[in-house]
């Protein structure tokens, strides 16, 4: 029977299978970056936490300046600095329990160090003696990831596996604003939301993907808004306000731990240094812009809060700086030693057992090394 034949009886209806899946309203991010320092909320923060954050920020800044100096001395092949972003790096490390996992990108060695990793091990990739300088299982820190956003699905899978096993483990994955344009960002968030995996995604929006500003990266109202499309809550936070980042990430981790699923957090911050030591930031941004962000420095914000409230005096500042100097001196000394490398390691870990083809190539290199050795003795 056609519509013409049943005229009168036929009534157009809405699509039969359609129903609203999720109410988007509770998922929407904060209207403006959430702040704690300099607001009434600061009074609620444990002074011990503020002091801890301060000490870590000072140490983190010194770590950044020391690592940058090491590139100039030829001791690091490259260093992507997180100067200006220390609040995000430190807070990400501090909100995790020992059994949780951190998934850093190449700019996040500081987060790994703040989690307790030896800075020399954290910098192995950037020194160039191996790709990963630590056992990821020992520290529950995934290898530093260079291909953008590709570590995010790993975090989702690990958190998913932990949940299937009934383990209380949360994964926190770090990514930059540029990384949010990658397909793996999208796929990771989608899988995490569908599986309700205990994952927290922290986007450090530092304004630039090397030279390309955020406006050329996205037309979204904010990066945090992207959460809504996947059906997870988005949070927008002042990424230079260590107390705010710590609180927002802490809430997201607690939400994940309680079975509430993933959260996307956008921390608005700024990359004070160039992309790496090999980059020239003056080609794509003005000094004025950098200066306005220097005035919103994460250490200055926290120092002001602590000093105003009488929680930090000159001795406290000096103690934090001395501790940072000790770390830097130790790092400098150890990085100034040439790493001992065994070229035969190149074949050691390609497979559990080298293939016959690799054994042949291994023999070739061994012979070359022997000839080199002989030549050196001649």
């Amino acid at each position: 029977m056609t519509v013409m034949e049943q005229r009168g009886a036929y009534r157009p209806t809405p699509p039969p299978a359609w129903r609203p899946r999720t109410n988007p309203a509770p998922l929407l991010p904060d209207a403006r970056p959430y702040r704690v320092l300099g607001t009434e909320a600061a009074a609620d923060v444990d002074p011990a936490l503020l002091r801890r954050l301060y000490a870590e920020l000072v140490r983190g800044r010194r770590y950044n300046t020391q690592a940058t100096a090491l590139t100039k001395q030829g001791r690091l092949a490259v260093y992507p600095s997180s100067t200006g972003q220390e609040a995000c790096e430190v807070a990400a490390a501090l909100v995790l329990k020992e059994r949780d996992w951190l998934f850093p990108s190449y700019r996040d060695t500081l987060a790994a160090v703040a989690r307790g990793l030896d800075p020399v091990q954290a910098l192995t990739l950037l020194r160039g003696d191996w790709h990963t300088g630590y056992d990821p299982h020992e520290h529950r820190i995934a290898p530093l990831c260079t291909p953008l956003a590709t570590q995010l699905p790993h975090a989702v899978g690990l958190a998913h596996a932990a949940r299937l096993k009934g383990d209380d483990v949360v994964a926190l994955a770090l990514v930059g604003d540029g990384g949010t344009s990658e397909g793996d960002f999208h796929e990771a968030l989608n899988f995490a939301a569908v599986w309700q995996s205990p994952v927290v995604f922290l986007v450090q929006n530092n304004g630039f993907a090397i030279s390309v500003p955020l406006a050329k990266q996205t037309a979204a109202p904010s990066l945090a808004h992207k959460a809504v499309g996947y059906g997870m809550p988005g949070r927008l936070v002042d990424g230079n306000d260590a107390a705010a980042v710590h609180q927002v990430l802490g809430e997201a981790v607690a939400h994940a731990r309680a079975g509430g699923g993933p959260t996307l957090v956008e921390a608005v911050t700024y990359r004070i240094d160039a992309h790496t030591n090999a980059d020239d930031a003056t080609r794509y941004r003005g000094a004025d812009e950098v200066e306005t962000w220097r005035a919103h420095d994460p250490i200055a914000l926290l120092e002001h809060e602590l000093t105003e409230r009488g929680l930090l005096d000159e001795d406290g500042v000096r103690a934090a700086r001395d501790a940072a100097e000790t770390m830097a001196a130790d790092l400098r000394e150890r990085m100034n030693q040439d790493p001992v490398l065994d070229p035969m390691d190149l074949f050691a870990h390609v497979y559990a057992e080298p293939t016959p083809q690799l054994r042949e190539q291994e023999a070739l290199l061994r012979a070359e090394l022997a000839a080199e050795q002989e030549g050196a003795h001649r």
């Binding site: 590709t150 975090a155 796929e187 899988f191």
Partner: protein, 334 residues
């Protein structure tokens, strides 16, 4: 001696059995991919597994191959043994970044601290009348990626045995399933099926004296047919089934070619930059003084995979193989 009843089974059934046995033997084994749950996969290889093991272990994922493989990486990091199904050869390409930049390298970049025991099942090859993007021979891409094992069965028993070995491997294995052999039947002993270990051994499927056909996966039945037809020409062809492209069994292949003095590599993949070039080079390097003729390749053409109504012209067939055998400089030799 006890006689064991041999029952006919399809390759698809043997693969299903391998998955079921692996999942029963090891609770860490998880199957994931598109349509692997209620549907049992578009080729029905995961048939019944979701019902038997539950959705937590046999998971219909969102439709995103990079996400499937990327999350499998994380699951493997946490001690699981994911078996990932890529629905078709050409649908696996979105997962290449995860495959190349992470799956293949994780053991190496962590100095052995973080091996990834992931099996990636990829139905591949043509001959099933598939429309565009359903018939690629993508093995050369995988072979060119250090850190991966690449295996492909050509018989029902090997389908079971190699898949069990792949899942048991602590290294990532790309497991290429020849689509047109899914429904091939063979007498098989399903009571006590065995894993084929270690991965990396070729096998002589037909002994012969005149020349060696070196092949794998979907081209094995074609080569065996060609070898039978060749007897009419007076050629007694040996047929070697590689079974594993990485690692490569130089020993078995070279031993065969030293015996016969002549070799043709046969595969569906294109010849330029395809596996045959590498294989021919390896054979030449090892058997130069035994060779009566250059090693030849019979391959698919170097064209995008053709539409189904033309694919028979593209795929290496018996005649093209016999023509190549005929060009092995018989007059110059014995």
């Amino acid at each position: 001696m006890t006689t064991v009843a041999l029952k006919p089974a399809t390759m698809a059934q043997a693969l299903t059995r391998a998955l079921r046995d692996a999942m029963t033997a090891d609770p860490a084994v998880h199957v994931m991919g598109e349509d692997v749950g209620a549907l049992g996969g578009v080729f029905r290889v995961t048939e019944g597994l979701a019902k038997e093991f539950g959705e937590d272990r046999v998971t219909d994922t969102p439709l995103a191959e990079a996400g499937i493989l990327g999350t499998a990486v994380g699951m493997a990091m946490y001690g699981l043994r994911p078996v990932v199904e890529m629905q078709f050869d050409a649908f696996a390409y979105p997962a290449f970044e995860q495959l190349i930049s992470h799956v293949a390298r994780m053991r190496n970049r962590t100095r052995g601290a973080m091996p990834l025991p992931i099996t990636i099942r990829v139905p591949y090859g043509g001959g099933i009348g598939g429309v565009e993007h359903h018939s690629d021979s993508s093995e050369a891409y995988y072979m060119a990626t250090p850190g991966l094992h690449v295996v492909t069965p050509a018989t029902v028993a090997d389908a079971y045995g190699l898949l069990r070995a792949a899942i048991a491997s602590d290294d990532p294995v790309v497991f290429l399933e020849p689509k047109r052999l899914y429904w091939s039947k063979d007498s098989w002993n399903p009571e006590e099926p065995q894993a084929v270990e270690p991965i990396g051994r070729a096998v002589v499927r037909r002994a012969g004296r005149s020349a060696t056909l070196i092949t794998y996966g979907p081209s094995l039945p074609v080569c065996l047919e060609a070898a039978e037809a060749a007897t009419a020409e007076g050629w007694d062809l040996e047929v070697v089934d590689l079974r594993s492209l990485v690692p490569f069994d130089d020993e078995t292949v070279a031993a065969s070619v030293r015996r016969t003095g002549r070799a043709v590599v046969v595969h569906e993949s294109g010849s330029y930059g395809g596996p045959g070039g590498e294989i021919a080079a390896r054979v030449t390097e090892r058997c130069f003084h035994h060779l009566e003729a250059p090693v030849l390749r019979v391959a698919g053409f170097d064209i995008p995979y053709p539409p189904p109504m033309l694919e028979r012209h593209h795929l290496p067939g018996v005649d093209r193989i016999l023509d190549a055998v005929g060009r092995l400089q018989w007059e110059a030799g014995n």
